[in-house]
């Protein structure tokens, strides 16, 4: 069929007149373009001998104007482009070659258009030449090109400013392309990873983490995030990878070095822990005498028992039953002393906080031995009201023990000026609104209304020797656990400090 068509054209099926008609029709129908023929005389004058209909659409000038005054065409051109056009035309005429130039045209209505002028030059007789060609309005194309260039420039600027590494990878994990602001950000030079699989470039455990994510992103179309550490040439670093789909079967991984943030985060966490520990030490320092007493009691019992046994043996009065009973008491007193030391050690140690199921009733029992002696010394009555079947909270035992100790000691301080028989401290535990609550009530001076709002602010204290950090640290601990701490008080009638923690297993 093609063959038949070719043959028909070659055989010159159309007459010259038909061809002219056809060209004219095409010329008149071409959108945003016009055909032209211009005659260049030997003396340098030129005149249009043909202009197709669409000239008015492109230049905003009717053909008649150009027929009458061909120079109008040059006048419409932007100055800089006109010079370029004239030079190109001169050369086309001199060398009888094709003219191919793009110029900007300012139409009479003020609109700027980009025109692509392309024509062939033909010598018709001595020193007379004809140029025949087409003028295409390429403004839209030019605009798209400009937008593309602008967009590319903008993207390039963004890319060069971004601190992130970027990798384009196949869904299987082969590196296809990359962007790095600085080559030292790369684990290995590009030639060692482009075209290679992640398994051959990254440590095995990291590749095992990332490769399945690429596949998942491709399948789901949803971004995946991965955090990992890597031993870089400059040292161990921490990264966050955001993996997004990027065309069919490809993903873009944007890698951010989060080492600095992690370091700051660790440092802040470390500082918080240190502060809490310092506060615990201060608190224990305040009750050191009582703690020593709590330790001396079992030690005294052990010594007395051992020396009694010694005496009984020396005087042949030791029965097996007595001896066994004495040894049993010594063992249990040793355990008691050991527990005091163990509780002290855990309060003084700098351990990594953990979130574990935590019985707040047990915590109240645990705090009692640490405070028993202090309560005695301060002649304070202590009572507990623990909810039965209280669900476990979730939290760090030591930190919550610290909060409880702090609230109890504050309560005792608030009652210093009361007669001993009025010093009453009570602890209550309850399950409440999906949380577990602990309340510490004292019968002390209460909280003045002007102090209520500042209780949990740093450096706020009503004690002559207080630093004002205790309640602030309590608030920080409770809040970090997802709980709440607050106080109720009627001035002069005691105060209740409550704190809640989330339940370990919400129902």
């Amino acid at each position: 069929m093609d063959e038949t068509h070719t043959q028909t054209v070659e055989e010159g099926f159309l007459s010259a007149a038909d061809r002219d008609d056809l060209l004219r029709t095409i010329g008149d129908k071409l959108p945003k373009a016009f055909f032209y023929r211009v005659l260049h005389e030997a003396d340098g004058r030129m005149r249009f001998t043909y202009l197709s209909q669409r000239v008015v659409e492109v230049l905003g000038v009717p053909a008649e104007v150009l027929f009458a005054e061909p120079a109008v065409m040059l006048d419409l051109m932007v100055e800089a482009d006109r010079q370029r056009f004239l030079m190109a035309m001169e050369r086309a005429l001199t060398e009888t070659m094709t003219l191919d130039v793009v110029v900007r045209v300012r139409r009479f209505d003020g609109e700027l258009r980009w025109c692509h002028i392309r024509s062939a030059t033909r010598n018709i007789e001595a020193h007379r030449q004809v140029c025949e060609g087409v003028v295409l309005d390429v403004t839209d194309q030019k605009r798209v090109e400009d937008q593309l260039v602008e967009s590319q420039t903008r993207n390039q600027a963004i890319l060069s400013a971004l601190p992130d590494l970027m990798f384009v990878m196949s869904r299987d994990g082969v590196y296809l392309d990359y962007h790095a602001r600085d080559m030292t950000m790369l684990l290995v030079p590009p030639e060692q990873f482009i075209g290679r699989h992640m398994n051959d470039v990254l440590p095995a455990d990291l590749a095992a983490l990332l490769v399945p994510k690429l596949r998942k992103v491709c399948e789901s179309g949803v971004m995946a995030v991965a955090e990992y550490s890597l031993d870089m040439p400059a040292g161990p670093s921490h990264f966050e990878a955001r993996i997004v789909p990027c065309g069919p079967d490809r993903v873009l991984a944007i890698i951010r070095d989060t080492s600095e943030g992690k370091r700051a985060q660790h440092e802040a966490q470390h500082n918080r822990l240190e502060l809490a520990r310092a506060s615990r030490m201060t608190m224990l320092g305040e009750i050191a005498v009582s703690l020593a007493h709590e330790l001396n009691q079992p030690l005294a019992a052990i010594l007395n028992n051992a020396q009694a046994a010694e005496r009984l043996i020396a005087t042949d009065r030791a029965t097996l039953l007595d001896t066994r009973e004495i040894l049993g008491d010594i063992a249990s007193d040793s355990q008691r002393a050991g527990q005091v030391i163990w509780r002290l050690r855990e309060l003084l140690a700098q351990s990594v906080p953990e979130r574990a199921p935590l019985s707040l009733n047990q915590l109240v029992h645990d705090v009692e031995p640490l405070l028993r002696s202090e309560l005695l010394t301060r002649q304070t009555t202590w009572s507990v009201d623990l909810a039965e079947d209280l669900p476990d909270a979730r939290g760090d035992r030591i930190q919550i023990l610290q909060v409880l100790l702090n609230l109890v000691l504050n309560g005792m301080d608030a009652m210093n000026d009361l007669p001993p028989e009025e010093r009453r401290l009570s602890i209550q535990t309850r399950q409440e609104d999906g949380t577990v609550r602990v309340s510490v009530r004292d019968t002390g001076v209460g909280i003045a209304p002007e102090h209520a709002a500042k209780l949990f602010e740093p450096f706020f204290t009503t004690k002559p020797s207080g630093l004002g950090m205790g309640l602030r640290i309590c608030a920080s601990i409770v809040t970090a656990h997802g709980g709440r701490i607050w106080a109720d008080s009627s001035c002069g009638r005691g105060a209740v400090f409550h704190f809640t923690l989330p339940m370990a297993h919400p129902s």
Binding site: N296, Q297, A301, N304, R311, T315, I326, D329, L376
Partner: protein, 121 residues
């Protein structure tokens, strides 16, 4: 054969009380026990004790409160204080009010026996 001296141990901590009682009994003292100062005051102790081994810090009435109460009643029973705290103020207060000794826990049998012997004259 003479009757052994009667020593009252007034101590709220059960373990300590038990240890003290054993030790004193091993040295052939007659020992009676009270878990609080109030229990001593409510009982016959003030009239019959030859010596009191008395803890300082106890719930309710303290050892010093008991010492004052005995003074007020005109009781002259000698007191040996035992304490796990041992702050100087309390010690001075106790000694000023006639305590024979002020022993800090943990103390040896020799210290206790010497103090009790002194109390018994």
């Amino acid at each position: 054969m003479t009757t052994p001296p009667l020593v009252y141990v007034v101590e709220d901590d059960a373990s300590v009380m038990k240890g003290l009682a054993r030790l004193l009994r091993a040295w052939s003292y007659d020992v009676r026990l009270c878990a609080s100062a109030q229990e001593f005051l409510d009982g016959p102790g003030a009239g019959e004790a030859d010596c009191i081994v008395l803890d300082v810090h106890m719930p309710g009435l303290s050892g010093l409160d008991l010492q004052h109460a005995l003074h007020q009643r005109g009781a002259t029973v000698p007191v040996v204080f035992v304490t796990g705290h041992g702050d100087a103020g309390t010690q001075l207060d106790a000694l000023d009010h006639g305590a024979v000794a002020f022993l800090k826990k943990p103390f040896t049998d020799q210290e206790l026996l010497a103090a009790v012997a002194r109390a018994l004259g």
